[in-house]
Point group: D2
């Protein structure tokens, strides 16, 4: 049986509603659980693109090959579909030669898809292909899927490890300080804000409006605001605002300065949208689009106020998430991939590789998906945002 | 009276429907028409943003100051509105200190606006402010406005020169080989195509769709396609296509390769849109949006064909046009600004500074606005596009 | 008298050779020590360039102005020279308008210089100009100078606060987890490594050799190695190596792979250089140049071995350190500047603003300059470097 | 026999010392000289790196494969060494899969070397390997080598075509308006100048000195100067200057402005260096290093003048030339490669693909290497440089 040791102990804390005292530190272990010469591994990437996915794939393959001597690594195509036989996606064999320059490319060489698949079918595939170790790169839903797979493996009494590698460009996974791709996303987001500012300043009563990623947590919007001093209003899911207060503040700004830049995380102002409860294939609630909503509201408001404004709306999401990782994220992905391999080879399972206060850790999946990490509206980050933009602390 | 010499001669060719044999070469002249110590100049920027506007403003101010000793240069705010008294826009005084780092910023420091203003009001402003030389940076509509101003100046018998500096990110002005900002736009466009490719390849039957600028001429789309070998279909206004042919070709590609990248110039396929003849404030026909149209058509078509596709639509226009000029365009804007000043100081008027076969030229406004420059579907450029994408020469 | 409170308590730990238990958290305080309407502040930048200096200057000026209402901020020119009357450098008045776009420029708008000046002369200047709060941006030597100034202020019984803002591109200051400019430097360094790899691979037995910053600590070299997987040998001050072992390893690599990339921190291999004990104007030991030394040693060794090699040596230091801050560092500099102002306005003095585990802190200058932060050769970072490059753990 | 037609006619003009009236236009021809199903092709890259080499290799391979159906393309390794049997370099087989992402990498995937090899040995290799078409990518020396090969082929009566693709980052080949990589080089050079300016402005009497490529022609230095308005002195091979005049001008500038930026092409001021007539392996004269020479002369001069200056010397050559091509150059390389294939498949030989006034042309090698293209000191480009830097037209 695979080693669950500390992970189970930690899970007991979570069951009791307590924060676990410490996570196990990541890194190579003295004892290796698998025989590398016979081990077959698999990698699967799920959900939306994020800078650095290819870096992680590459790091896992190279570490398995050069650090442990594992010779066979399969890349399953198009997310969990690739683990489901009836889709007929042939897996890609990942050798050092195949992954050599992979880190220079955005996207995922394996392809991805959203949404769950039948757990039993996926474990069938793992059994039939004789996979001993599966690495799943994905967010919340993917990690829950990985946990389902690990549990089914347990029920069948198989010797297959499942290691999750957390991917969330929003950086909103609990007990994990920073996820890969986040810094690249902030960098790229500043370019969109730069454009929004140039457009706004280039027109009389110009409003540059940028929607950034962040369904439940506004970290990208907040850090991009700090990194680019042209933002006048930063709207995030964690801080409620009313249309009236926002539009009045915007009017005042335009009257004084003749242009304004607004940044909105995609999950901001959801109460304003009377969001219907549709869910996408991954089970995420379909949010109404705050970007086009705000654009239309601004236009309506100023039309009524008989003030001519020029709103330029920019939605850079696809461009941001498909960029290659920047050097910070590249270095981070490399160490993340290495530590995922160390954990898997040591016999860990049902866990994700996290990081906290500059150390890599082993985090039980249950802990990682237990709640979302969000901006604290009274904390240092949001205070910095408010004092930089000069926006009112309360837009209600 | 201002010198019209060769320009009038050239215009006679145009009147007779003939191409003019040669344009006057640009550059400094021995005789200066104005007394620099008394001359007041004005600059105005109109229409949409374009990389390099600030470079041109800076080059004009520095050349007037350092090459000729002109001490007073006004920047009129928000396009032709700034020349119209009743808007109340205070002009900005442009000194070398003010423009020193201007070339490092995208947008226009003066602000811009679309649409014409009353010619007589604008000439009133020039008279009242005692402006001797006006530089207008803008496209088709702006140049027609400049010609109107020059003609009214002529009628009033004033000693005011009007020099046009052609700005069209689409690079579609006649008798002018390349306009500033075009190369930067192509560069930036390749980033959007990169993203479209990563998104397309990252999904089963992924289609990355990019709309690029180009209302009547597809130069940006064509060159960006050559610069980025991931494009499978390039659609431009100059080459007609039918939906059926395009969608069938796309289906065939997806069946074979599982992803595709489509680039469409904004003016492509206008016959398909049954464009209504609305016109915007500058008098340009309002085109239907080919980007969202194609996105919806692709989705509908494959839904009917019961083939699941994933279309990612990217519209990078605002981001592209608000970038600072790249080094090529910076150098070009510098020389363009210098030559505009040389032309103005030498007493030329009613002309734009063009360039042709690596030389700067003086082009009568009438010639520049006479017809659009477009891609020749049988020429070298389009042949290169077709042989790179592998798309059928005829998509009908 | 200025508040020293916790700082003095912390210093007692240091005197006893113990690590201080906790640093005071940074941030705004309820009580403000100075009357903002009468306060005059000064900023000085010393030592070599580093990405983000202008960001910090800007953040300090804007925070003083908008958060506290301080109206007069002087920028002293050319480091401590600017505080020394006899140099005759007129200070620059720093208003919000002056610093508005400053963060987009590399370098320092104030100019810098190396080396100490007479403490008494500098305090004379502060007295004569009626400065109440001095911000010094600089490294080790600068911070020692700031401490001298603070002590002299104490002796004279003046009400002048001195706040240090740590600047070290090498990221080698104790009790401070990361210093500004470091991430930008790592990013830029990867470009030089990219070039070194292209040059090396482009020649038979090509060796690309890059010298990076890092006099005593090899953090830039180590992280740039992780971020760019083309490095085969990373040499840092913290890990001793012998020429024989290094050159033999290099020979073996060339025989097998025909090219190699070597990255050396400037302080690596100093024992090999029989460094003479010269010191520069700032009192730093003048290190021999490991870059040219290695280049010559490699050439000699392979000449003797009758093996034709082609060594391309790249020293990107000036280019790296003069770049503008990247978005990560921009956001960091903003918060750093704000917290320096908060500390100063609350009456703190003789301290630097540090950061540790994602929090900003107040660190006594004595603690910050007590010892250098270095790579732990048995730690996670160096293990990552060794497992990525594949270089022998011991090159002796 | 291969078709020489117009080329021979053109050569007769050159023999008589006349400029040829027109070059043959490039492009696909109706008749194909070779049977694609049996044709084997070779590519070789010689001399120093240049942005875009891999783009050209890729374009040639893809055009041969997709446009003509040629299935076998060999990449000879390490320049003309790869064509010389006794070096034992195994050629690389270049398939569409191998070259697919090649354009995203700087350098040359084939490796390069300098210097000539025995023509007879190289033609032996071509015969033995049954190569029908050889593409040589290189500069002056390489093209002369290609001509030698073509002549030997003629003597032996073989059916082997030789097509030169001109590579010179300096853009100094006659009858060819622009060579690939040049625009990328200018772009990258501006970054070094940016750094030099930041370093210069960051120190009292700071001098930023940048050496750029340009052995005989200063085009990179001149265009980079136009693209970056911080340059105060631009020194090129085409315009003589004396040390006295230059140093006096520099002194005056420092006294007034306290910093200066100097850009020198590597071939500038060679008369000052008393260059000894050494030649490198390619037969080029070994020039003394103007960069370190000027640095030392500036230091000496101001030491004698008892004026403290701080000279920062930047030599970015390796970094510039190993960058990937920018989008402009990528598009250009693509069309260049296609046209080289069209020429070769049509039976042309002993020629290079040139471009002139926006058209691709066939230029006899003899014409291309007949003389160097240089800056005209009385022309538009140099006038632009002088009027931007404000440097004296005569520095003698």
């Amino acid at each position: 049986m695979l080693y669950h040791g500390k992970l189970q102990e930690l899970e007991s804390y979570l069951r009791d509603g307590k924060a676990p005292p410490h996570f196990e530190m990541a890194g190579p272990r003295e004892k290796i659980y698998f025989d590398p010469s016979k081990l077959k591994c698999g990698i699967v990437t799920c959900g939306g693109l994020c800078p650095g996915i290819n870096d992680v794939i590459r790091a896992v393959v190279l570490s398995l090959h050069y650090h442990y001597g594992v010779r066979t690594v399969f890349g399953f195509r198009y997310g969990y579909e690739g683990l489901t036989y009836r889709y007929g996606h042939e897996p890609l064999e990942l050798t050092p030669a195949v992954v050599d320059d992979l880190h220079q490319q955005g996207g995922t060489v394996l392809g991805s898809s959203r949404g769950p698949q039948q757990v039993s079918e996926m474990v069938d595939t793992l059994e039939q292909m004789n996979i001993g170790l599966l690495f799943t790169i994905g967010g919340d839903g993917t990690l829950r899927g990985a946990q389902g797979i690990a549990e089914e493996i347990g029920r069948r009494g198989l010797r297959i490890g499942v290691i999750g590698i957390p991917k969330t460009i929003d950086n909103d996974i609990s007990y994990i300080q920073q996820t890969f791709g986040f810094e690249t996303a902030v960098s790229e987001a500043t370019e969109a804000i730069y454009s929004a500012h140039a457009e706004a300043a280039g027109a009389r009563n110009g409003v540059g409006l940028v929607k950034l990623m962040g369904r439940h947590s506004g970290f990208i919007a907040a850090y991009a605001t700090l990194a680019n001093s042209d933002v006048n209003y930063c709207l995030v899911p964690e801080v409620r605002f009313t249309l009236d207060a926002f539009l009045q503040a915007l009017k005042k700004r335009l009257e004084g300065r003749r242009h304004a830049v607004v940044v909105a995380a995609e999950g901001a102002g959801q109460d304003l949208l009377e969001a219907n409860a549709e869910r996408d294939a991954s089970g995420n609630i379909r949010l109404g689009d705050i970007g086009t909503f705000l654009r239309d509201q601004i236009n309506d408001y100023f039309k009524k106020a008989e003030m001519e404004v020029s709103v330029k709306y920019i939605d850079p999401s696809y461009t941001i998430r498909s960029m290659p990782a920047n050097p910070h994220d590249s270095a981070f992905c490399l160490m993340l991939g290495h530590n995922a391999v160390h954990a898997g080879m040591a016999g860990r399972t049902g866990m994700v590789v996290g990081n906290w206060r500059a150390e890599f850790t082993h985090v039980p999946i249950a802990a990682a998906v237990s709640e979302r990490k969000q901006i604290d509206p009274r904390g240092r980050l949001w205070t910095g945002v408010v004092s930089t933009t000069g926006q009112p602390r309360e837009l209600v």
